[in-house]
């Protein structure tokens, strides 16, 4: 059993992993950059050590420093979360060399499945359907033209080392291919340090469906059902749900079995996700594998009832999976919204800064995995995700209603957020009818006017401004104060006398 785990991450995922460790009786080591000294993951950890200045290459990407802290604190394992070092096979190897368990797959499996071209070869070997196209990097524009001619246009150029839409180009006609090849390759080189690009047939209006896997170190691998992540803006996921409204038991089983075959063929262990595209005829095509915990893992946790981070840790400790495939049953429906510090009204500009006001939702069926608090300053240095809001309910329709209820309870002041975007999506008839594909959100945003007209300002808002103004200096005694819970109580206590209260000790 691990006694101590170092969490090589920040934000909500660091806190989420820390909570799992605490629940398993494992002590925690946090690391932080100068921008994160007052971050929640530092506050809640057992130990915390500084890495360096805010930029990630000088802090959270410093594998050497992180390993050094793990050694000095005698941590047994490192959980990399997602992003940062989580898909870095060299770092995983360095951990292994230092006899510190990297909570994730072995470096060898990461190397096979982390490169998209390697993964496509593995998919072929595992007999898994994939998009038509090449399984090796393209050597030249001429080779690209040959492959494209063979599979037919439209095609998609992609970076072998890529993700998040970088180094990606849709090409509709042969004459556009050479220039697209050059720009995709140079963009990939800049973003990932490798200009390798490959080409595949473009699936029109696909849905993005992914399968969650867990594999233990005894060769036992199960699928925990699918997530639908088709609501994307510029190839980045915005809202995810489980299960998918279009995946039935049979399709779920077939996709799950294909994903398990791929993982077993590469000797994959721990948690991982196999991403598929689903076309309009519900044919699925292997897209890529993510060799780590996903941002959107909570929706799977809610519908399966399992805790993926607990299981990651237990697998890394060498424990066998505590269940078999036949024990996995999906129940209800879960939706996750990624709450970002960004301004949808202004081209989704990031909106870092101080959170001056925070009212968080709660109650039945609402889970929030958050990394913020009132007064927290969202740093400019990292991904602007503030929180993941997750709603669970017996049906998709009720999960949507519940999420809308929670969004209406949520207030984040001082910075701009995308809360309104989710209201727009969740009220959209196409979304409600599950008529979504990976282009859905971009179309929705293009169709809605960017300068939305505000409804006429109402009397309550004007009255509230007036009262805030009139009581602004109340703390100096220069104006009337606004009564609060305390004043109501004092008034009542004075009036009643304390002996006259009618508190009945019975509790229902």
């Amino acid at each position: 059993m691990f006694r101590k785990i170092l969490i090589a991450n920040r934000g909500e995922i660091a806190l989420r992993i820390l909570r799992a460790c605490r629940e398993l009786g494992i002590s925690t080591v946090a690391v932080y950059s100068d921008a994160d000294r007052a971050a929640p993951h530092v506050l809640e950890a057992d130990e915390a050590y500084r890495l360096g200045p805010p930029p990630a290459p000088e802090s959270y990407l410093r594998g050497d420093l992180i390993l050094d802290i793990a050694r000095r604190t005698a941590a047994n394992a490192i959980h990399p979360g997602y992003g940062f070092l989580s898909e870095n096979a060299d770092f995983a190897q360095a951990c292994e060399d230092a006899a510190i368990r990297f909570i994730g797959p072995r470096p060898s499996a990461m190397r096979i499945l982390g490169s998209k071209t390697n993964a496509r070869q593995a998919a072929d070997e595992a007999g898994m359907p994939r998009t038509p196209g090449c399984v090796h990097g393209l050597a030249s524009p001429e080779e690209a033209l040959d492959v494209a001619a063979a599979i037919g246009y439209p095609v998609m150029l992609k970076a072998a080392a890529g993700g998040g839409g970088k180094g990606m180009r849709a090409v509709l006609r042969a004459e556009d291919l050479p220039s697209a090849f050059a720009s995709a390759s140079s963009e990939a080189e800049r973003a990932f340090g490798s200009g390798e690009v490959y080409l595949e047939k473009l699936i029109e209006r696909p849905r993005h469906i992914e399968i969650q896997l867990l594999a233990d170190e005894n060769g036992h691998c199960v699928s925990l059902g699918e997530r639908e992540c088709s609501v994307q803006r510029r190839h980045q996921k915005v809202l995810e749900e489980a299960p998918s409204a279009v995946v039935d038991e049979d399709l779920r089983r077939r996709m799950g079995e294909a994903a398990v075959r791929l993982a077993l063929s590469a000797g994959y262990t721990n948690a991982g996700t196999v991403e598929f595209l689903l076309d309009g005829d519900r044919n699925f095509y292997f897209l890529e594998m993510n060799t780590r915990l996903q941002v959107e893992h909570p929706v799977t946790e809610l519908v399966t009832g399992h805790d993926l981070v607990h299981l990651q840790i237990r697998i890394a400790q060498g424990e066998p999976l505590p269940f078999a495939q036949r024990d996995i049953h999906l129940r209800g429906h879960a939706i996750e919204c990624r709450i970002y510090a960004e301004d949808p009204g202004n081209n989704f500009m990031p909106s870092p800064g101080r959170i001056t006001r925070l009212l968080q939702p709660g109650g039945p069926g609402i889970r929030e995995d958050s990394g913020i608090y009132e007064g927290w300053v969202v740093p400019v240095d990292y991904d602007p995700m503030l929180s993941k809001l997750i709603a669970y309910a017996p049906t998709r329709a009720l999960a949507i209603a519940r999420m809308l209820r929670a969004l209406d309870e949520y207030v984040i002041g001082g910075i701009r957020t995308n809360l309104d975007l989710f209201r727009q999506i969740l009220r959209d008839p196409d979304f409600r009818a599950a008529g979504i594909d990976t282009g859905y959100l971009d179309r929705l945003l293009a169709a809605s006017s960017p300068d939305q007209v505000n409804p006429a300002s109402s009397a309550p808002a004007i009255a509230a401004v007036a009262i805030f103004e009139a009581t602004k200096n109340a703390s100096n005694g220069s104006a009337a104060a606004l009564p609060s819970s305390a004043s109501a109580w004092k008034t009542a206590a004075r009036r009643e006398g304390i002996g006259g209260t009618d508190w009945t000790p019975r509790r229902p």
Binding site: N346, N347, F348, M349, P350, S351, P352, G353, T356, R357, L359, V380, P384, L407, D408, V411, G413, G414, I415, L419, D420, R423, D451, N454, P455, A456, S457, S458, A459, P460, A461, I462, A463, A464, V465, A466, I467, F468, E469, A470, A480, A481, L482, P483, S484, S485, S487, A488
Partner: protein, 166 residues
């Protein structure tokens, strides 16, 4: 207490007096009377009951644009000094100069207008870059560029005045 409130592009005249018991207010909005029952939940968070309707109103202390969260809506507003408004009303037709402010820290990429140029409301004036994204700052009104205070390459802080439109 009387003041003018710019909210949703409209200017409303507001008069407010405390009533009895504490928490009750008589408010006239452009002459129309509203009776409000207000309690503070915590700083900046108000419970307001008007004619039985319950409202949660939250002040958004944004550095450059004060706003109010009313239910799911975020409503920017500006409280005007009564004198400046009176003077503006006197010179009806020629509104007072308004600044173009940086809405977040960043670096000036380029200027889209020159000093003296005539601009329309919402016309792009200055491009600022932050976090590798570019943001076009727009003119707050129809008018003329009276002043440009920055040059490409300058770094600016949130709230800095970058230009004045007359």
């Amino acid at each position: 207490m009387t003041f003018n409130l710019e909210i949703d592009g409209q200017i409303r005249q507001v008069e407010i007096d405390p009533a009895d018991p504490p928490g009750q207010w008589r408010i006239r909005i452009d002459g129309e009377e509203v009776e409000a029952d207000a309690h503070l939940i915590r700083p900046g968070v108000m419970s307001l009951i008007i004619a039985g309707q319950s409202h949660r109103l939250v002040l958004d202390a944004h550095p450059t644009e004060p706003a109010l969260h009313a239910g799911p809506q975020r409503i920017p507003y500006r409280v005007e000094d009564p004198r400046s408004l009176r003077s503006r009303r006197r010179h009806a037709g020629s509104a007072s100069p308004l600044p173009v402010r940086a809405s977040m820290p960043g670096r000036i990429v380029r200027l889209l207008v020159e000093k003296g140029e005539v601009v329309a409301a919402h016309q792009g004036v200055i491009v600022v870059e932050a976090m590798k994204m570019q943001n076009e700052l727009k003119s707050p009104k129809n008018g003329r560029v009276a002043e440009i205070r920055v040059s490409p390459g300058d770094t600016v802080a949130a709230g800095d005045i970058l230009a004045i439109i007359d």
